[in-house]
Symmetry: D2
Subunit: 292 residues, 4 copies
């Protein structure tokens, strides 16, 4: 069992920390808003009143933060994780951030003799609660080996995809494909509706063939009914598409479809739909076609 510091106890981080406790680890949690820390204490963890306190003596430090600048501040900042982590500690950053930031974190960690992994997750709140997240991990092979046990408490599919930053790169590719699939399904739905097709039957037959996808399975029926209730917020996907585009530009790459869908996502956010589930991209495709 490991001594773990966990920073960032939000919708995803909270249940992940609880699952680490449940697996027998000793977890000291820190979060800006105190209520989340109290929840972890109720779940059997201990409260830390600062990053320094969470990190002190930890063998493994988890971070689960909203965006690249947050990770830079909390990990690299003056009073941050690396300033307080013990030599030989393992830093597991589960945030979805820019691959180049992940590489910068890994380099800074190495200088302090901390082993860092970028380990973004997919699956959303339900799988965070169930401890069955998919985790795409970038970093050194020995660090991955050392982390597999603790990661097993929060995820079901845990894959080492390459060196530092590779986890974030795969997550970026994931977000590109997912946004694109939502956009394609939205265009197909409007196309079918406008032609007077029975869309329930239509989605059935589409799902059974080469057009089938996890997006269609998970969201097709709800999109048909224009149900865009709580889920993965469009504004977060917008942030992620920004990461995709920055990473593409950094590597001198072009991705025409990914870029166009990023524009559609940006437009949806600009039009005020940022708080809806990302499948609400359909609202914009519908409106673009003068339908409602």
């Amino acid at each position: 069992m490991s001594k773990i510091g966990f920073i960032g106890l939000g919708i995803m981080g909270g249940p992940m920390a609880a699952n680490l406790v449940a697996a027998g680890h000793e977890v000291a949690g820190y979060n800006r808003s105190r209520a989340k820390v109290d929840q972890l204490v109720a779940d059997g963890g201990t409260a830390a009143s600062s990053v320094a306190e969470a990190v002190a003596g930890a063998e493994v430090v988890f971070t689960m933060l909203p965006d690249s600048p947050d990770v830079e501040a909390v990990v690299l900042g003056e009073d941050g994780v690396l300033a307080h982590a013990q030599r030989g500690a393992l830093l597991v950053d589960c945030s979805t951030i820019r691959p180049d930031t992940a590489r910068r974190v890994a380099e800074a960690a190495a200088q302090r003799e901390v082993r860092a992994l970028d380990a973004p997750v997919s699956g959303g709140e339900p799988k965070a609660i169930d401890g069955t997240l998919s985790i795409m991990v970038g970093g050194a092979a020995d660090a991955f080996a050392a982390a597999e046990d603790v990661l097993g408490a929060v995820g079901a599919t845990i894959v080492h995809v390459g060196p530092a930053g590779a986890g974030q790169t795969v997550k970026a590719a994931n977000q590109l494909i997912v946004a694109g699939n939502i956009g394609l399904l939205a265009e197909a739905l409007v196309f079918l509706e406008a032609h007077g097709v029975d869309t329930e039957a239509g989605l059935d037959v589409l799902g059974g063939g080469l057009a089938g996808s996890s997006v269609l399975n998970a969201k097709g029926a709800k999109m048909r009914d224009r149900e865009f209730g709580p889920g993965f917020r469009l504004e977060l996907h917008h942030k992620d598409m920004g990461i995709v585009q920055a990473a593409a530009r950094e590597a001198g790459l072009t991705a025409p479809l990914g870029t166009l869908v990023a524009q559609l996502v940006a437009a949806s956010v600009a039009q005020g739909d940022g708080a809806l589930d990302h499948s609400a991209l359909l609202k914009q495709i519908t409106q673009l076609n003068g339908r409602s």
Copy 2:
């Protein structure tokens, strides 16, 4: 058991006719090149030396032809199916053509008291041979009911999706989503390769989450290895994207992603890759990025 005329015994039509024979139907086949007709005779069918002969006395007429003008010529032409079909016959057109052509065929058929269905299929040659195609059917409910038995000999999933043309509309939506998925996967692969990610592990973890799709399952590994061997030819998908765009324009619709991927497919064909499997769209995305 039904008396069936089958016109168009190519890669798809041939095995479909054979499966109708195997199911106990009496099948008279016609094809422009005689060799295909001989094959049907070998399979237990009979040879027709003209459309008229294939159609004479048939309760059901199947057509499986390359494109809209072919269907217009063979069905509506002077010496075509409708000129010879008996009153009350059922016309099942399995070609992938324009929805408006399908509607025109249905109207012309109605005037001759022939009941027409547009019934494009998906699944490719393997499922044509196995008799497990997905079939999306447009037309009147009673015609669909009358056709279900014969369609059961060639398909596993047979769905009535709406009035005349609706089958073609759903097939068009299918082709839009499939081409888009291939394009997105191609962009993701080049993105991962350029960033030095282990793409085998990367595809695994992508396939397990919300980015998963039938395209990724069926073609991901081969695309990784740049294997674009026999399959569904890009030039056929190019034709189909033309149908998507024409049908969208006819209905006053816009589909930004579908249109962009149609451009990428057109470019692949222009560059000479038309005879490769449609997953060869990856070649173009690779080259667009100055990679090889």
Copy 3:
């Protein structure tokens, strides 16, 4: 001076026919609605009560019609221009239609020993009235030479750009560039507005450099003020973008920017702006960005 039949006396055709009269030609005009014919008579022309009557004995026949099917009906139809034109007559089609239709017309004309030119115009109603249109002409060199005199009465810039269909091809390229320029200017304006820039000064400096264009000169200030009054209707530009796309597909070409702007134009029409000037594309770019 020539004996001219003029078919299609609308917003463009009316003043063109009047200018031919003013230049001393004998013009017999036909139009479906009689009021337009009366106007030509008031301008000094004569009235024809049918296509046949307008064409009878004419050395030159002008057609100025809305779209490809109209030209097919009026020129190729049973009681159309070619059925009645005398041998050796010159057919000048000023409509904006598909290049392949123009080629078909030229071939049919040749079979009747009529020389055909496709001669679409640009410049709009003001230049039609002033007789200063730009005319892009496709067809045989001798036919062009024979037509230069009469074309001089309606246009200021008259250029022979290639064989039959070439005039329509250049017009299609013209419409692609114009729509694209409107779209780019719309995106730039919204970009400047959102950043709080003085757009009057901004447009001034943009117009003076490499970003300058006829579109910016003619429409920039009005777009800034959201004045989309009478002009070239978006729905006509939508029709023209359909021609561009069909001509591109026919030639196996891809045009990513032209295709995307065609989608934006289609969306504007779908949203009900078809009757506004094509600069109203700005409305959609504005709305796409959640602004108003």
Copy 4:
């Protein structure tokens, strides 16, 4: 006459500094490579061996640097312009950089009681040599008034477009429109070529109508001849499109055409054409269409 420090004596900065000398100003120049400084001395300026020396006692400081990070380093850096500029000095940054960087520079300058203007230019080397650049200026009105005299020595069109950053925003819009125009012209040219049109005549008639543009005038004939000799390098335009996209994202904006042309520019650079004139975008459109 003013005492001027000029930092960055490259292809653009060199002739600008020489024109300031010619107008009677006292110019101390600094450049990383000494040869450029020697040229300025030959032109009548004086040599500075550091930023500090160039800035010492200057009433006006010009900077003309490649990119945002260069401006950040040279202006905001430890031993940079602001560390050495006298109170009340005027900083005129003619570099093309991110609007937000320009705002950051202006804020930092204000804290040192230095008045800053962002003043990117357009017109290229020829107009830099002639002293007839177009200059789009952002900053306070009084700073603009104070700078008009010195700017008159390097530019012919000098427009105040808004507060700090506005000059860069207009320059970004300029680059969006220019790249878009090149892309549209490239698509039109390939379209005309593929259809066998006389492109020389075609460009003439296009240039005379609503499709006319400065890009067509300046580059049309050379593009037709595939002459992509020295000019504005594609890789610099690629950098600028990065600024456009970052500024759009920062403001929550979408610009579909601008974004697509940015992808085409990125692809051209990825394919190795970065050192050619930006009109070489045509190479890629040509190749995309399988032509050469």
